[in-house]
């Protein structure tokens, strides 16, 4: 075959392959990026898992730090800096009460360690809302090109959310609506612009430089329970020697049983 004919054939092959590849890849790209007829589908529309509804904490880890107020000076497990210990050693709940700072242990880096019920809902098509009964806190997870407002840092910070969608891949089975949720994807949330607070109620601090990355995974167990496992990574160059990595878990409830809004407390 003459070289020019070989090249021409090669280009034809490339063109055909390119068109085929693009056509086959399109659904995946649409799914992942939100492209589609009539504008991109919303974060709500492409959600691979349904977190909405009520969840209850299962507290069988760090029990003594969570179910009761941890003892002053008990910092076990937290990779504190010396500066952190100095701050924590000065913990005085009466002082927090006097200044109205009752919610310092209910900020985003700590709120999912509080024994509580969670309620997930969609505030709008691009904003997931998480309410807690303990401390009556609200977190907003913003998808897409959300711009954080200017202003002072807040207890729950600014959270950017994205879906990590599992692709079945080429030749894989078609999506099965009855498949367990762990097969479908995860929610990733990155939170910054945090007001300083406590990782634990006994004054273990995080600073305004702290950042939080969370992964929300839904799992269906053999007994039918649906669990939510949240892997939580807190970084803080001021008060943590290394990322503080924990994971909290919750069980899905059929309804709002046990939902009991309670205000923040500096002591309990």
């Amino acid at each position: 075959m003459p070289p020019e004919e070989r090249i021409s054939m090669g280009y034809r092959f490339a063109n055909i392959f390119g068109v085929l590849t693009a056509a086959m890849a399109l659904p995946l790209v649409l799914q992942a990026q939100g492209g589609g007829r009539g504008g991109p589908p919303s974060a709500k529309a492409v959600a691979p898992i349904d977190l909405t509804g009520y969840w209850v904490s299962i507290v069988d880890e760090d029990w003594r730090f969570r179910m009761v107020t941890p003892t002053p000076g008990d910092y076990q497990g937290v990779p504190m800096t010396a500066a952190s210990k100095k701050v924590a050693d000065g913990w005085d709940p009466a002082k927090d009460e006097a200044s109205g700072d009752l919610c310092k242990s209910y900020g985003a880096p700590a709120i999912l360690r509080v024994p509580e019920h969670l309620h997930f809902s969609w505030q709008d098509d691009a904003t997931m809302r998480l309410d807690t009964d303990a401390g009556t806190q609200t977190r907003l997870f913003h998808f897409g090109a959300w711009k954080a407002p200017t202003g002072p840092p807040t207890l729950q910070g600014d959270s950017l959310a994205s879906w990590e969608i599992t692709s079945a891949g080429r030749g894989g089975p078609a999506p099965n609506p009855d498949a367990p949720p762990q097969g479908k994807g995860s929610l990733k949330v990155v939170t910054s612009h945090l007001k300083a607070g406590y990782l634990r109620k006994n004054g273990v601090p995080y600073s305004e430089n702290a950042e939080l990355t969370e992964y929300y995974d839904m799992l269906k167990e053999r007994n039918g329970d649906v669990m939510l496992v949240v892997t939580i990574v807190t970084t803080d160059p001021q008060y943590l020697r290394e990322p503080f990595i924990i994971s909290s878990h919750f069980k899905k409830q059929a309804d709002n049983a046990g939902w009991k809004p309670t205000p923040c407390s500096a002591r309990w």
Partner: protein, 295 residues
């Protein structure tokens, strides 16, 4: 451009466009981040800390009869190291896959043995679990499936082991389900322990790992029975009502005695209302306090 090069490019485009079938690579050395349950995974839990365990009466009675010297008995020295040790022990894990040399398919994922825990071989080739009458072993028998990018293992046929290293035990009817969840450089294990003999509800815990900067070889052999010096015929134990450690959590942390005994209600937020008025916060931590010098 030659056809060969075009094909190569096309193949590369395909690879980019279509992630490989959901099975992901879990292999490597994973260092445990013991930022939660640090005492339990490190030095070991307080002897009377059963809070958060959904015990039934049998499970509680078994735990309260336990005396630490039991691990010196030749018959029981290995009794603690079921596969649950992976979830509550101190160390990291080494994971690799075993492939069929003819097909290249992964037939098993292996979580290497460590300390006295036997390796967990997670069979991925569809083989069934043994008959319910088959012998049990320290290792048990484990199969796995991929749900998307999450590997879920299921272990049966274990010997009795510990749920916490303070005498909270699992029976030989216990089963373990573990989800291996990977997010970038983070590996989270979420595990459910079911035990119809000692628990009223599943016991559920999670833990996270990061890649180890150093090679973490699996350590063999697993637990070997030897003579550790307890006189033959002696079973160190506490008789009912005689456990001498029962007030330790109260002394150390002000936790009401009833909470130390566990039970399903101690896992749920509503239990805080029940113990609120009985809790008395100590003035200062006196033991295993952590901090910059030691987590």
């Amino acid at each position: 451009m030659t056809r060969k090069r075009v094909s190569l490019h096309a193949a590369m485009i395909l690879c980019l466009s279509f992630p490989a079938l959901a099975q992901i690579d879990l292999s490597g050395s994973w260092a445990s981040k013991n930022h939660e349950d640090a005492l339990e995974r490190g030095a070991g839990p307080n002897p009377d800390d059963f809070a958060g365990i959904p015990f039934n009466e049998s499970g509680r009675a078994k735990a309260l009869s336990y005396m630490q010297s039991q691990i010196s008995m030749p018959e029981r020295i290995c009794a603690f190291y079921s596969q649950w040790h992976m979830m509550v022990g101190t160390f990291g894990i080494k994971i690799w896959n075993e492939t069929d040399r003819l097909t290249g398919k992964t037939i098993a994922w292996v979580v290497g043995e460590w300390e006295d825990r036997a390796p967990m071989v997670i069979w991925m080739d569809g083989r069934p679990h043994p008959s319910k009458n088959a012998p049990h072993s320290q290792e048990g028998f484990t199969t796995g499936t991929w749900d998307g990018n999450v590997l879920t293992s299921y272990t049966t046929h274990m010997l009795t082991g510990y749920l916490r290293r303070n005498g909270a035990m699992t029976s030989d009817q216990a089963t373990i389900t573990i989800h291996f969840i990977k997010h970038g450089d983070l590996l989270t294990l979420a595990a459910q322990l079911d035990d119809p003999i000692y628990l009223t509800e599943p016991y559920y815990i999670t833990r996270s790992y990061v890649p180890s900067p150093t090679l973490m070889n699996a350590l063999a052999p697993s637990c070997i029975v030897g003579d550790e010096g307890v006189p033959v015929g002696s079973v160190p134990h506490f008789l009912p009502g005689k456990n001498s450690f029962l007030d330790e959590m109260t002394k150390l942390y002000g936790i009401p005695a009833e909470a130390e005994l566990g039970g399903a209600e101690t896992m749920y937020p509503a239990y805080r209302d029940k113990i609120k008025d009985k809790f008395a916060m100590p003035a200062k931590c006196s033991r295993n306090c952590g901090g910059p010098a030691g987590q």
